[in-house]
């Protein structure tokens, strides 16, 4: 305790027992709701986003069940076209704004990042708490939209339909507007934390790659999110005051809305996928016991993706009536962003070379990620090329593509990261066999759900259809069966973790033999994270970590510590 002095943080009911951890240091609802501890905020985010994921997932299952038959499985008295439209809109809006954007940065990032820099918190703990409270407030507006007249615009709020519909566009846009601030606060906090709080010895190119990924994400969050905020404000003004910005009947331009919307929402795709790539970089290295291959290329590719991601929004609008010249330029820029993603995949593979690959649950998710993300990335080539995009745009091909990237990529990486850091977060080990089993169920269910959608999409099945012509029936039925398997797999994967809280073996400080700083404190971490400020070493040098069967985890090998180190590039 001597090296870290408490500053002016006020935490309700915090005790100074050196044996307590952040979970037990204080009790009661208020000690959580108003905590300034990044770990508790991360855990609250975790609970919040999993609730959203569950809600959005129930909607997805209803949608898929309904599509089992061409005219709908449920009679119109249960799901008519209006209800279907509301369900897919809220599925998309909840999954995007409430779940996937905050998932890795706000839940895992919040928990892990300060530990990775050996600090006791993020740079602005109060702002961090505010970002969670704003998330709750934004979520409340979504729930208001859900229980009142709902929302049927699609999560994109395209005008002029969003100006004309009688559903609760205002509540949902206020919700998304507030969630934007939450996202900006998180991003700001991470940028300042990484810039100012790195310990001596942790230069930029000695940072763990997860930190690079979160940093690149934070840049997008603070630069792109304000554009969404302004766009949504203009949309509200248009609906309430009829100004004529986006409504063609009043001289406005509906294509302008699309430009504004995608100027945020395309970079937002990278807010979702970049942190996932960061997690995979950590997992591939730790579970192969090899330094990450091509650290510099991976780090720069994160920044390249963040910057190029700003230049490609127009590829959502190839058939909107924008000029052919614009379309050609956006198509060219779109391909430029595929290269840094490809580089990362090759680097991850090379990391496994000559390694000692531990097929623990997080590694199974990482391998699953490489499979699914490769399909998601490669199918982007069909959509970036203009001639093929004309046919594939707004079909199930696009639905399949972005689910492979967003769910097969981000969600799989998120769950893998959660399994990886779970022992650190809650101090318990989960059942490996069930962890791997449900990873396999998720993998099978996922492919069965979304692969048929590529085929039906390229055969012409448009997206956002409550009913469809019978020739697509077989693909929809495969997809629906897959969705049920996928749903069971996800419920299983979460159950394995929850069960471990009650009967899991106590976790050692470093169960996986990872070399980043968060594994040097006890599991779960003490309130102030570290008893002593940890010594910074290479995040991917595993040579002095040795498995100790008595501890059940990895410890510093005193013999290795005295040996001369093999020269390392990083």
């Amino acid at each position: 305790m001597a090296t870290i002095t408490p500053d002016t943080q006020i935490d309700i009911g915090h005790n100074d027992d050196p044996n307590s951890n952040y979970l037990t240091s204080s009790h009661g609802f208020l000690s959580w709701a108003f905590t300034l501890d990044h770990k508790r905020i991360g855990v609250m985010y975790l609970v919040g986003i999993f609730s959203s994921f569950f809600l959005g997932g129930i909607m997805a299952l209803l949608l898929r069940l309904h599509l089992f038959l061409p005219d709908g499985l449920f009679p119109p008295s249960i799901i008519d076209n209006d209800t279907y439209n509301q369900l897919f809109t809220l599925h998309g809006a909840i999954m995007t704004f409430l779940f996937i954007i905050p998932s890795i940065p706000a839940a895992l990032g919040n928990f892990v990042l300060p530990l990775m820099v050996g600090a006791k918190d993020v740079a602005f703990p109060r702002m961090n708490l505010a970002s969670f409270h704003l998330w709750v407030l934004g979520g409340i507006f979504f729930v208001i939209a859900l229980v009142t007249t709902r929302l049927d615009t699609g999560w994109t709020f395209y005008t002029p339909y969003s100006i004309q519909t009688s559903t609760n566009v205002i509540a949902a846009t206020i919700g998304a507007f507030i969630l934007g601030f939450s996202s900006i606060f998180t991003g700001l906090n991470f940028i300042v934390t990484v810039n100012t709080m790195r310990p001596p010895g942790m230069s930029w190119f000695k940072m763990p790659l997860f930190m690079w990924a979160i940093y690149a994400t934070a840049i997008i969050q603070i630069l792109a999110t304000p554009v969404l905020g302004i766009t949504l404000l203009l949309l509200m003004a248009e609906r309430i005051l009829q100004i004529g910005i986006f409504n063609p009947a009043l001289g406005g331009d509906p294509i302008l809305f699309q430009h504004f919307f995608w100027f945020y929402s395309h970079p937002a795709v990278y807010i979702m996928i970049l942190p996932a790539m960061g997690i995979i970089s950590e997992l591939m290295s730790v579970y192969s016991r090899k330094p990450i291959f091509g650290y510099t290329f991976i780090a720069y590719s994160s920044i390249a993706i963040a910057l190029l991601g700003f230049l490609v929004w127009g590829h959502h609008m190839f058939v909107s009536g924008q000029s052919p010249m614009t379309a050609v330029i956006f198509s060219g820029l779109t391909f430029s962003v595929s290269i840094p993603s490809a580089i990362k995949v090759f680097n991850w593979l090379a990391t496994m070379y000559k390694g000692n690959i531990n097929l623990a649950t997080p590694m199974c998710y990482a391998l699953s990620f490489i499979f699914l993300f490769s399909i998601g990335g490669l199918t982007g080539l069909f959509l970036g090329a203009l001639a093929t995009d004309i046919h594939l745009h707004d079909t199930y091909f696009v639905v399949a593509h972005f689910h492979y990237v967003m769910m097969g990529g981000t969600v799989i990486a998120f769950v893998g990261g959660l399994y990886h850091w779970w022992p650190k977060m809650f101090g318990v080990m989960y059942n490996e066999m069930f962890g791997r089993l449900f990873c396999l169920v998720v993998f099978i269910g996922f492919n069965l759900t979304f692969f048929p959608q590529f085929i039906m999409g390229s055969r012409g099945m448009p997206r956002r259809y409550a009913t469809y012509v019978p020739e697509y029936e077989i693909f929809h039925q495969l997809s629906t069966i897959g969705a049920i398997v996928l749903g069971l797999g996800m419920v299983g994967a979460v159950t394995v973790l929850i069960v471990s809280l009650f009967n899991g073996r106590k976790a050692p400080a470093n169960p996986w033999g990872a070399a980043t700083l968060e594994w040097t404190c006890t599991s779960p971490p003490p309130y102030y994270n570290f008893e002593h400020a940890p010594a910074v070493g290479s995040p991917y040098d595993f040579s002095d970590l040795k498995y100790d069967p008595q501890v059940g985890g990895f410890v510093k090998d005193p013999a290795a510590a005295n040996k001369p180190k093999p020269s390392s590039h990083h």
């Binding site: 209006d82 395209y158 970036g384 956002r464 093999p566």
Partner: protein
């Protein structure tokens, strides 16, 4: 060999090629498909190989290897860059062909509205299904009377959004006829979908596409322009009512459920209906008569039936001529 494989991928992934663009689009698709399949299989094969060779087992330890290799990394950056540059180039040259209609193209006006399609031909004829001649460039001038829609014919591989207050366009040359003669029953038409989400019945905004020999098309067009001729007003009105998409939203069997966006229209003639006039807050009663029908067609939201949303599209004189309204009125009078 490659062409056999290409055909296999096309028949799995695509509807039959029915326009002159389709082969180009499918060819590019196949190229990307085999390139992607190659890289995907290579990535997964390497991954599985490494897992099999280097997985953790008794006595196995990691071996030192280079933590980076600039030659290798530059190679695997540059080769994909060249390949995607190639895809980009082909993608945009084929696209420019698809954006440039020849000067002699036959022009058809397309009006998209919630939730039906209307096609207006140069001779003034119109229909809710698309008829075009084979082997002839046909240009579609697209417009929307309410929200965004998207004109999508998978068999032709064409798609373009319909934007209110703005014209967009696309064009096609159909390769094959869909059947003999001008009679629809002899044809196997293609699907035409709305691909941009447009509200409640987006998924029911479908139309059929018929491709004729030129002579059959001319005969069909002639009949379409004069479809009211030689019919009683009731018969003609029924035809007009169906052709203009009224059946999408109005039941004529008394079905008052939410399946139909508008109120049922049978047995209503001469009765009083409770409506809300534009700008008014309380309902008033109007008799359903000739003037109410005419006003409701030309200015649908002037008096909206209580409990219904003001979503009926405006029918301009171009879309619905006065003699057609007269015929529809006769038809509505006859409905019990």
């Amino acid at each position: 060999m490659l062409s056999i494989l290409a055909d296999a991928s096309s028949s799995l992934f695509f509807p039959p090629e029915q326009s002159t663009f389709a082969a180009d689009v499918d060819g590019l698709f196949d190229f990307i498909y085999y390139l992607s399949a190659f890289f995907f299989i290579a990535i997964i094969a390497v991954m599985i190989l490494f897992v099999l060779r280097y997985h953790r087992r008794k006595g196995h330890v990691e071996q030192p290897s280079a933590s980076h290799n600039e030659v290798l990394e530059i190679t695997w950056s540059v080769i994909p860059s060249i390949l995607v540059g190639f895809i980009f180039f082909y993608g945009f040259t084929k696209y420019l062909d698809m954006r440039e209609p020849p000067d002699n193209a036959y022009e058809i006006q397309v009006i998209a509205k919630q939730w039906s399609w209307q096609f207006i031909y140069p001779n003034g004829a119109d229909s809710d299904e698309l008829h075009i001649p084979v082997n002839q460039p046909v240009r579609f001038i697209l417009q929307s009377s309410d929200v965004l829609h998207s004109f999508y014919i998978p068999a032709f591989r064409i798609k373009m959004d319909c934007v209110p207050q703005r014209y967009t366009n696309t064009w096609v040359i159909a390769k094959d006829i869909t059947g003999e003669g001008k009679d629809n029953s002899e044809h196997k038409p293609y699907d035409l979908f709305c691909a941009e989400y447009c509200g409640k019945d987006h998924s029911r905004m479908l139309a059929k596409v018929y491709v004729h020999e030129q002579s059959d098309f001319d005969a069909w067009l002639e009949d379409a322009a004069n479809y009211l001729e030689g019919k009683t007003p009731e018969e003609g009105g029924k035809l007009a009512f169906e052709k203009k998409g009224c059946t999408q939203c109005h039941s004529v069997t008394g079905d008052n459920s939410a399946k139909y966006a508008g109120p049922p229209l049978n047995g209503q003639w001469g009765t009083e209906r409770s409506v809300i006039a534009r700008g008014a807050s309380s309902p008033e009663n109007v008799v359903m008569d000739e003037n109410y029908i005419r006003e409701s067609v030309r200015e649908p939201n002037a008096k909206v039936v209580v409990g219904r949303k003001p979503i009926m599209p405006v029918f301009t004189p171009q879309q619905l001529k006065d003699n057609e309204i007269t015929a529809i009125i006769a038809y509505l009078k006859s409905l019990k």
